[in-house]
Each structure stands twice: as C-alpha cells, then as structure tokens.
Amino acid sequence: MQGSKSDLLQGTLELLILKAIALEPIHGYAIAQRIQQVSREALQVQQGSLYPALYRLEERGYVQAQWRESEQRRMAKFYSITKKGRKQLDAGCAQWERTAAAIASVLQAAE
C-alpha cells in the first residue's frame, strides 16, 4: 500500500484530483478519501503530495478554492474545477486511455 504512492505517475495524481472534484466542490481531506474509496483502497494519496498538487493546480487555474463551512460545521477550503480544468481533465482522460490501452496491448502481446 505504501508503495502505490510513489508509483503514481507524475501528472496522474493531478488527473485524479480533477476527476474527484469534477462532480461537486469538496475539501482536501474529502479528495483523498474519495480517491481512496473509488479505487477501493488501491490508491492512497498522501498529504505530502496532495496539497502541493492542489496548489499547483490552483496556480495554473485548473481549480479554484473557497472557504466554506464543512459538514462538521467547521470552516474548510473547498476546491472546485474551473472551465480550464475541465478541458484539462478531458484531455488528460483521453490521453490516459490511449496510454493504458497501448500498455495493455503490449503486455498482452508479451504473454
């Protein structure tokens, strides 16, 4: 489990984050939770990578942040996807599928 973090390809984490917030604005902790749940615990996002990635995305204008009250009635920073981020997400998904398909076909052929 510990290993899956470092094996995450650069750029992939950002794609996952964009996907996680594409439905509705959520805060950092929830992003980590969601990725973990959806991947059935296969992918675990570490805080040390999550927040720098979030800030990078924010700087590039893919996400925007807003302080809001969370479900626990505490203030939390909610991230939502921007138009630019959505485009990036679509492009990233397409790219990922192509890459995954290509890798899959190589691996199958090798067998």
């Binding site: 805060h27 950092g28 902790y29 980590a32 570490q46 805080q47 040390g48 990578s49 927040y51 720098p52 990635a53 800030y55 990078r56 700087e59 969370s70 626990q72 505490r74 203030m75 939390a76 920073k77």
Partner: protein, 896 residues
C-alpha cells in the same frame, strides 16, 4: 494580482495553509476514532500517517508561483548569514567587484561627459552646426576651419534662410576679467544676440542676451557669466548681477548667469563669460574684419524648423548657400583657379545635439582606450570572482550535500547559491558605485585636463548610476547561472561517499584551471598593452625636439587682453625681457609670437629665390616671429650662418630684412644646399636675406612631423610666448619669474607659467596616462591571476597528497614531485600566454595609431609581457609545489 497576495500577506497565507492542513489532520483523527481507536492512539496514527507537517508545508509552498519570490527573501536572509560566516571571502569578493565596477563607472562617466551627453538645452536633437568643405582663409579657434564661416554668410543665413527657426553664431576668444583689483584669464565666447534663444538656454539668474543686445558695434558692454565660472570666481553671489567688471580692460555690466550644466556648444570646452558679438573688436585687435566676406571665423549653430527632416533642412540650406556662393564668386578675381571648386561647395548640417564635434577623433580614441582597459579589468575581476566562488562551493560540498540530504531540494540549494551571488554582486556594485562617486572628480582631473575636469559637476547622476547598476546586473546574471550549472553536476551520493577521487572533483579542477588560464590570458593583454604604451612613451621622450627642454621656463603674456595699448604693450615686453635677463640664474630670455608645444602657428605665402613653385601657387610656409637670442634661449643648434642680433630688429614702421630657415626648409626649397645668403620674399617690396640655418624643431610635439619653418625678428604687440633659459634646474626660479612679471606687467595674467619639462609632459599627457593606467592595471591583473593560480595549485596538491605520498614511498625524489607540480603550473601558464599574446597583439592593432615608434613586429614587448606573466605565475606556483615536496609519505598514506 493574485500572485502578489502571498508575497504581501505572507503570514495570512501561512495561516490559511496551517488551517487547511490542521483541518485535514483533525479529520484523520476523527476517522481513526470512528474506527474505534482511543483518542491518544488515533492522534498518534494520524501524525504517523500525515508525515512531517513542516515538510508538507515546505513542499506546498514550493508549489506556489509566489514562493519563488518569497523563497528569495528567505534565501537572502540565509545568504546573508552564510556570507557573514566567511567575512574574509566576502570582503575579497566585494572589493574585487567594487574595483571592477567602480573603475568602469568612472570611465563611463568620463565618456558620457566627453562624448555621449546631449547639451542641456531645449530639444537638442533639432540643433545642427554648419560644415563646409571649401577651405577659405580665416581665424580658426579650436573648432576647425571647416566649421568656420564669414559674418556676411552668417547674416545671409540668419535673414534669408527658410530651413531654420533660428540661426546663431559664436566665436571663442581669450580674455581677462578684472574684479576688485584681481585679474584672471578667462575663456570668452562672443555670441550673437539670438544665441541663447536659438539654443534654448535659460538664465539661472538675471537675464541672457536678446537680439536688442547686439545691434551697434562696440555699443553693448554686457556680460553673461557661465554658471561654473560664477560659482568659482564669485562664489555664486547673486549680488554680482548689475555690477561692473572689467573685461579686457573695458567696464562691462553683468546682466545674468546662464543655466547650470551648460558649458559650451563646443564639446569638452567651458566658456567663462559670454559677450555680444558686436564687442568683437575688443577681443580681436589684430583683425577687425567683421564684414569681409572671405574671412571665416564664426561657428554657425541653427535650430531646424519643426516638421523639417534633417535632409530637407540640408537641401533647403544648400539652395541658399548656392546663391550666396554665386554672389561671392562675382567678387573673385577673374584668374582665380579654383572658381569651380569654390562654387561647388556644399553645406553639411552636422547634428549638434551634443555640441560641435571638434577634435573628438582624438578624444574618442583616448576614451575608447580607457574604456577598453577598464573593461578588461572588469573581466578579470569577474573571472577572479568566479574562481573564488568555485573554490568556495567546492569547500562547501559537504554542507550543500547535507542540505540536499535533509530535503532542501536541488532548487532550494541552487536558489541559496544564487541569492548569495546576487547579494555579493550588489554589495560589490554598490561599493563600486560609491567608489566611483568618490573618485569621479579626482579621477577626471587626473585623466583628462583640469579644464575638462571642471565640466563634471556631479560625477554621480542617474545615467552613471544606471550604468553601474547595469554592469552589476549583468555580472550578477553571469554568476547566478553558474551555481545552476554546477549543481547539475553535483551528485549527492558522490559527495557524501567521499571527498577525494570523485570525478566531479577532477572536472572542478579542470574548470578552475581554465579560469586561471583565462585570467593569465587577460593579464597578458594588459601587460602587453602596458609594454607597448611604455615603449611608445619612452620613444616619445627620447625624440630630439630640436631644442633643449631641460632648464627652460615658458609662459605667455597678453597685455592687450588686459586693456594695454600697443605702445604700452611693446614697452612692457621690453621691460620683461630686461628684468628677466638680469635675474640671477637666468642665462637667456627670448620670445616668439606662437609657442612651442602650445598649438597654433601662422603660415605665410613665400616666394623663394631659385625655387620654381608648382602651378597651384607659391608655397605656404610656417612662420615664427622671434626676438634676437631665440636660438640661445631654446638651445637650438645653428647649422650655418649666424643668429639674429638686436641690430636685426627693424625700427618702427620698417619691414624685417633678415630671416633664418630650418633644415627641412633647405631640403625642400634649396635641394639641401646651404641657403645662407639666398633670399625669400613676401612681395617685391618686402624681402628677407637668409642669414642662418637652424636645426629642425619639432614644434608641435614629439609625435608630429618636421615642417619647413622660417624665422624673422620683429617686435610684436601681440600675445607672446616667452622662454627663459636657466643655469640650474628651473623649478626653483618659477616663483621668482612670477613675482618679476607681476611687478613689470601689472594686471596682466601670467598664462601657463611652467617648466618646459612640464609642458612637454602635458603634451604627451594622454600617452603617459594611458601607459600608467595600463601598467597599474597590468600589475593588478597579474597579481590577481597569480592568486588564482596559487589557489588552484594549492587545492590540487592538497587533493593529491595521498598520491604524492605514495609516489614518494615508491622512491620518487623530491625533485620529481616538484617537477610534477611545476609542470602543471607551466602548462597552465603556457596555455594562458598562448591564448593571450596573439589575441592581445591582435587587439593592440586597434591602438597602433596611438603608439609612437613601436614596430608591429617588434618582439620585445611581447617577450617582456610573456616573461613578466610567466615569472609571476611560476612564483605563485612554487609555493604549493614546495608544500608537495614536504609531504611525509607515512602520514600521507595514513591520511583518510
């Protein structure tokens, strides 16, 4: 401005980040509690899983764009601490840079004042100065004959030209100013009434001239003071306005002071007092030709009409010029041979935004040479600093590696190094600029004449400051890139494993050796330049001037400029001659109308017995009017015939009858035969018998040609140059001579009273200053290079201690070890010279024009430069080499 926010409100951003991470952590704790862990255990697990909070925050910060700026501030604080930890290194680096930048800033300030700066007037780009190509007779003062025009021509342009919104004229003259009993020589500028208006120069005080101040001949005894003269002579006292001063003996009213910073339209000059043009006859008693159409003496400055391009203005001006020439040609004698040439002359309008360019060719070359030398100094300072930085980084490899290992991030380390270098460069730049501010004025006085030195009122203005900062920024840029390159090479594991033997270390030595090589090459340039300039200087000093300059005093008197009448002047000159001759220690006294080594000479058309002139006409020959005893006073050898005697002096209203000629004259016009007894004539009525043949005199200075000269005796009522031959070193007599003159010629300023040796040194001043500077910087550069070489070799020897120990243990003699190290030193030195000398020779080709009597193939300066650099390098290398021979094999092997 989102990116600015983190910078401005850093703590707010930090707080926000803290809050966000805190929220995350709290949720994790809750999560663990939900799973049934005790609160303590839940917190422990959360902490464990969360990782180092500081690390997360650091990484997060890095992800922000703004963190680049923020990191810099942090970096600067760290850099400051790091530099403060090694004050020795910091001091050396800052001083090195300050020298480089300071020297260049001073040079730039000089160049700016001499060559670049615009006149401080309204719209200087619209100003032009007239330049013709046909040479007419006239009076040329400094500004050159092609820039001089007659008064009628000026009037035609002023009244009829359509191309200009204003046309003004000026003439520079010498004069004297007496105020409350003390008389001083001044630079006078005769200006037309519209001069200030055309230029757009305002008064700083009182008023300037208007056309109404310039209507009737000798009818406007008014003066406008130059700002710096007002400061110097009257201490900036505003009460001087409306007061009377005596200019050339005539009472004149001071009406105003011109704007500060305006010195002259003649670049590099500084006029003290301006007087209306109609007062001309006061300053030019020898010639009154205001209205003669073929007597050129005025510089014409004009302001182009708005909307006209320079080309259009020039075309329009030439239409009028052509009309003027056609009118004038009608007055030429019918047989005038150059009529067509006269008619074909064209007017060029030279841009005058910076003033008239006169001898700037010379000045330009001089300043360019200074800039080149100082540029090389900066280059050497930079390379030297680079070497220092490299050594420092090498010494800090472990520290940097530890920073890396602790998670500083490669970027962080590079940033730290960059911040350090930036800080160093700006410290150095700041000190350099301050140095320039402090040294600017004295340096200007030292490097250029005192006169021009006065032009620099504020050595540190925004242009100079800007230049200094630009230099610092460029240097900083170069040094900021260096650590990035270095760090790319630095392998963390390598460094932590071991210090010695790592490949990067060898690369490091190679880099440093290359730098030392470059430094040696640069110093070879400067030393070679110094050698060439020094050789040139010694040649100049050794030139036979045709007279003995030792034990000789010279000065100039101009009683007319102080209001003396002609008869008074002649009487004064006689008294001066007698009094000075009677002084103890004085051997002979003589005078001439123009002075040796002061510039200026008359040419006169001569008809020479037995010489058939070419079709273009009788030759113009250089003429000196001298007193009897001229040869004796100057120590000029007589080759044949006799010197003038007092009996040769013509009486009042008599023409001179005898003359002497020099050898160049005899060679050119008498085929080298003895000319004594032959005749030369001005006209059928005025004939001279040649009574003596004298040696050639290098009248204009050692680097000048020898020209044909003829001398005749006469008592002139014009400004004279005097020569006093003394029996002992002449410095001792200077004050005695001055006292005698003040008594015999009261109220007449004694101009340029000095020994001929000093006068000679002034003549070759540019050359000797360049030579001194080149030698100074050459020595400095070589020492810096030697220090660099010492550093590298010491490092190499330390690194190879074990290898050397091993060699010695295996039987290598101390001499072998010494040889081994010295071979490296020799290789670096030889490579440096191999690169430096040929490129230096190629570069010195650029200054050949300024070198006197230095043959391009003369190997001596090259060999001398090579020997000097090599010797210094070998001395620098021998110290580490000797240390190598003292390595104890046993200790060396046990080491590490």
């Amino acid at each position: 401005m989102r990116w600015l926010r983190p910078l401005l409100r850093r703590s707010a951003v930090e707080r926000e980040m803290d809050a966000e991470l805190r929220f995350h952590y709290d949720r994790m704790v809750e999560e663990f509690e939900l799973r049934g862990l005790a609160p303590d255990e839940a917190r422990r697990r959360a902490r464990l899983e969360f990782g180092g909070l500081g690390q997360v925050k650091d990484d997060s910060r890095e992800a922000r764009v703004a963190s680049r700026f923020e990191g810099f501030w942090r970096g600067f604080r760290m850099a400051w601490r790091a530099l403060a930890k090694s004050p020795g290194f910091t001091a050396v680096a800052v001083v090195t840079l300050a020298l480089g930048i300071g020297v260049n800033t001073v040079m730039f300030s000089l160049m700016d004042h001499l060559l670049l700066r615009n006149l401080p007037v309204r719209d200087p780009q619209r100003l032009v100065v007239f330049h013709g190509n046909f040479i007419t007779p006239g009076m040329y003062r400094g500004s050159g004959r092609r820039l001089s025009f007659s008064w009628p021509k000026y009037i035609a342009f002023r009244d009829r030209s359509t191309a200009f919104s204003g046309v003004a004229a000026r003439f520079a003259a010498d004069g004297s100013l007496e105020y409350r009993g003390s008389t001083e020589k001044i630079a006078v500028e005769l200006v037309t009434g519209n001069y200030f208006d055309v230029l757009g120069v305002r008064p700083a005080l009182g008023r300037v001239f208007t056309p109404d101040d310039d209507r009737t001949e000798m009818g406007h005894p008014l003066a406008v003071l130059g700002y710096s003269y007002w400061q110097r002579r009257f201490g900036g006292d505003p009460a001087i306005i409306g007061q009377q001063v005596r200019v050339d003996g005539m009472p004149m009213t001071v009406v105003g002071v011109s704007a500060a910073g305006f010195h002259s339209v003649d670049r590099g000059h500084n006029e003290d007092v301006r007087v209306p043009m109609t007062m001309k006859n006061l300053f030019t008693p020898g010639w009154l030709g205001l209205n003669s159409w073929n007597w050129a003496w005025l510089n014409i400055v004009a302001r182009m009409k708005p909307g006209l391009s320079p080309a259009q203005s020039q075309a329009e001006a030439n239409v009028l010029y052509r009309q003027i020439l056609v009118d004038e040609a009608a007055k030429l004698s019918a047989s005038y041979a150059r009529r067509q040439e006269f008619l074909n002359d064209r007017l060029d309008l030279l841009p005058a935004s910076g003033g008239m360019m006169d001898k700037t060719g010379d000045q330009m070359a001089f300043v360019a040479e200074l800039m080149a030398i100082s540029g090389v100094v900066l280059l050497i300072a930079c390379v030297n600093l680079a070497g220092l930085l490299l050594a420092r980084t090498a010494g800090r490899r472990r520290e940097l590696a530890i920073r890396l290992a602790l998670g500083a991030g490669r970027l962080g380390v590079v940033r730290l190094l960059m911040a350090e270098n930036l800080l160093l460069t700006f410290l150095g730049g700041g000190v350099g600029v301050l140095l320039a501010a402090a040294m600017g004025k004295p340096a200007a006085r030292l490097l250029i004449s005192l006169d021009a030195g006065q032009l620099i009122d504020s050595p540190l203005d925004w242009r100079v400051l800007g230049f200094g900062l630009l230099l610092a920024a460029l240097t900083a840029l170069a040094f900021c890139l260096a650590p990035a390159v270095q760090m790319r090479r630095m392998q963390l594991a390598d460094v932590l494993r071991t210090e010695s033997g790592a490949t990067s270390s060898r690369a490091h030595v190679r880099l440093r050796k290359t730098m030392v090589m470059a430094q040696l090459a640069f110093s070879a340039w400067l030393v070679l330049g110094a050698g060439l300039f020094a050789t040139s200087l010694s040649h100049l000093r050794a030139v036979d001037l045709g007279f003995r300059k030792e034990h000789l005093i010279t000065f100039q008197l101009d009683p007319l400029a102080s209001g003396y009448k002609s008869q008074e002047t002649l009487a004064t000159y006689r008294r001066v001659r007698e009094t000075l001759s009677a002084l103890p220690g004085v051997v002979a006294v003589a005078d001439s109308d123009y002075g040796v080594l002061t510039g200026g000479i008359n040419l006169n058309t001569l008809y020479i017995e037995g010489y058939r002139p070419p079709p273009s006409g009788a030759p113009s020959v250089r003429e000196l009017v001298v007193s009897p005893g001229y040869l004796r006073a100057l120590g000029m050898p007589l080759r044949a015939g006799r010197d003038f005697t007092p009996a040769d002096l013509p009486g009042p209203n008599q023409a001179p009858r005898v003359a002497m000629v020099n050898e160049a004259f005899a060679r050119q016009y008498f085929g080298g035969k003895n000319p004594v007894g032959r005749h030369i004539e001005w006209s059928k009525r005025i004939q001279f018998e040649i009574v003596g043949l004298v040696a050639d005199q290098r009248y204009d200075g050692p680097a000048e040609q020898v020209y044909p000269f003829y001398y005749y005796p006469y008592e002139m009522d014009e400004p004279l140059s005097f020569y006093v031959r003394t029996s002992q070193p002449s410095e001792a007599l200077l004050s005695t001579v001055r006292r005698a003159l003040e008594k015999q010629a009261p109220g007449v300023p004694v101009d340029q009273l000095r020994t001929m040796d000093d006068r000679f040194d002034e003549t070759i001043g540019d050359q000797s200053r360049i030579a001194e500077l080149a030698i100074f910087f050459g020595v400095l550069a070589t020492l810096l290079a030697a220090m660099g070489l010492y550093g590298v070799m010491a490092y190499t020897v330390a690194r190879r201690t074990r290898e050397i120990g091993l060699r010695m243990a295996l039987g290598a003699a101390r001499a072998d070890v010494l040889g081994m190290v010295m071979r490296e030193v020799a290789t670096v030195t030889a490579l440096g010279l191999l690169v430096g000398l040929p490129s230096g020779l190629a570069l010195t080709r650029l200054v050949r024009a300024h070198l006197y009597g230095v043959s391009p193939v003369d190997p001596r300066p090259v060999l001398a430069a090579a020997a000097a650099v090599a010797a210094t390098a070998l001395v620098a290398g021998i110290l580490p080499a000797r240390r190598a021979t003292r390595v104890e094999p046993m200790r060396a092997l046990r080491w590490e």
